[in-house]
Symmetry: C2
Subunit: 332 residues, 2 copies
């Protein structure tokens, strides 16, 4: 199977992408990787004894601060857009990028296109949980507003991802809401609740933001606006706690000694809260496998994203989504 990598995307590009590709082809013999990007920068980093890696040269790239849709429309030869085109014309089975998230979503929508029947693709990262298992949340930023029908499709796609790719048996699908009772919430959550009840999934009802860290569900359904607020609130709180602890723990010698004793448990907890350790986020609903790896990914994270893409290809993720979405449409 062929996996195209936007070699110029991410904070440490192209180095970590090249090294991640080498790690991946070493581990999985059944993949071929196409590094899309500037060969002048890529070639010196690439060990040519790795037979399953080729370079697809382009000078153009989309940077992290460009306006997404505009960048994708204008930079038709950028590494990201070209990787997307390879999936579109089936010269690759999947694409991966650690670059501009908005641009990747635009590439998914405008270059790769949607699976027939899917109204909106959704970005579905894993959120950290205290048991280190994580939960899949969608949509986390592909679309700010979502109708009830969009949320229904998010639930279906999230359920498929956890079942097929994570091998979960009957993942618990929850609707992010302000209380667990059925009648709670906004007009949209009230409208979507009975629709989710009718789906052939394990819908467990409303779930609250305060219990996300305790893994109150396996698939968390929300619109991109609320999902972003949730994620940022959790990140901001955790990061502030650590800042305060850092100050408190270095105030005097005695405290420094106490801090040394607690160092391992504090860093274990910090890692627990870091959602980048849970792998890349699939862009679900686009007509091809597309994985967003975190901007700060190292070579190992890129390798893991490649493994994730490989898994999604093998398990026929896109076909499954197409078929379930078609079924849901027929049942309405």
């Amino acid at each position: 199977m062929k996996i195209a990598i936007d070699a110029m995307g991410g904070d440490h590009a192209p180095e970590v992408n090249v090294r991640g590709a080498m790690l991946a082809t070493k581990q999985w013999k059944d993949i071929e990787i196409i590094l899309v990007g500037d060969s002048k920068q890529i070639d010196p980093l690439l060990d040519t004894t790795f037979p399953n890696i080729t370079v697809n040269h382009t000078d153009e790239m989309i940077s992290g601060d460009e306006e997404p849709v505009r960048a994708v429309r204008r930079k038709k030869n950028s590494s990201m857009v070209l990787a997307g085109k390879m999936v579109k014309d089936r010269s690759a089975d999947a694409m991966i990028s650690s670059g501009n998230t908005g641009a990747l979503m635009a590439t998914g929508l405008l270059v790769m296109g949607r699976i027939p029947g899917v109204e909106r693709p959704a970005l579905a990262p894993m959120l950290p949980t205290m048991d280190n298992v994580g939960l899949l949340a969608l949509d986390l930023g592909a679309n700010m507003d979502a109708s009830a029908e969009h949320l229904v499709q998010y639930a279906i796609m999230g359920n498929i991802y956890r079942t097929k790719i994570h091998g979960m048996d009957s993942p618990r699908v929850g609707l992010l809401n302000v209380g667990t009772e059925k009648g709670k919430g906004s007009e949209i959550t009230k409208e979507v609740y009975p629709l989710l009840e009718q789906l052939p999934i394990n819908f467990i009802g409303n779930v609250e933001a305060r219990d996300v860290l305790n893994r109150n569900c396996d698939v968390l359904v929300c619109d991109g606006f609320v999902g972003n607020i949730l994620l940022k609130a959790m990140e901001g709180t955790a990061s502030n706690v650590f800042s305060v602890l850092k100050v408190e723990l270095t105030k005097n010698l005695l405290r420094k000694a106490a801090a040394a004793i607690l160092k391992s448990s504090l860093s274990a907890f910090k890692k627990k809260m870091d959602y980048t350790t849970y792998g890349g986020a699939p862009l679900l609903g686009v007509n091809g496998v597309c994985i967003k790896s975190h901007g700060s990914s190292d070579a190992n994270a890129v390798k893991n994203a490649i493994g994730q893409a490989r898994n999604a290809i093998e398990k026929k993720l896109v076909d499954s989504i197409a078929s379930e979405i078609r079924n849901e449409g027929n049942n309405r």
Copy 2:
């Protein structure tokens, strides 16, 4: 000035309400307090040497788990509804309750009524910040959905509260959003942004959930659904951090010793994160002063809520809101 207290509301009612009332009349000689509730329970707790406290007897009360609107409609002689009626017919200048939040909002809306021109009252608690100053957030739960016009009114009311009651000079009003750039967000946030720019307030633009703890604004404007998700996500994360720390800090003797050294700083931080220490939440936009004190309030918290109500009466909060909302309506 006269302040009616729902003496039967809250986890520790009526005791903390009676004691809070005594503490308040001791501190402020210009207030009269009417304790509304069961005199059989209140009288034994009340020191009759306090001249400025009277009891308005009723047997009926609304409990914490009752369906709010239904409870307020049916229990017309409940302590909460009677306190609301006293404000409505001007036999009290303010009311306070530590009881059922939903029922108090319904009491505000159905019994006290809205200030002319105000479309939706908003519940406006203080959110904790690392500098212990806090920020006023609204709406945090009075209404799940909000139109752009509702958000405009929240901004106006929040600005008045911080200016008049907290004595802030030009409080920074921020719009909760997924990014700080002007074009970011949902349809509603995009629609309201230019409207907020036109108000005679210090609108600083979009603010992000991750920076709320760093007091990125003084008045945070959001709809009740998103506000609730934000608050619960922050609470849930903080509470999980403390649970983990507690486990880690008691794993062995050495760690227990380390924990003892850090105890004071950890509890200071825990207190910092506890939004109940920032006072009661005004229900802004109802035609009278109405303060929601936290359900777990102790006598001191009740006393502080009384002080807050006294301040709001003295500064003519309701008149100010009425006048600013009228002005805004005229300028449209």
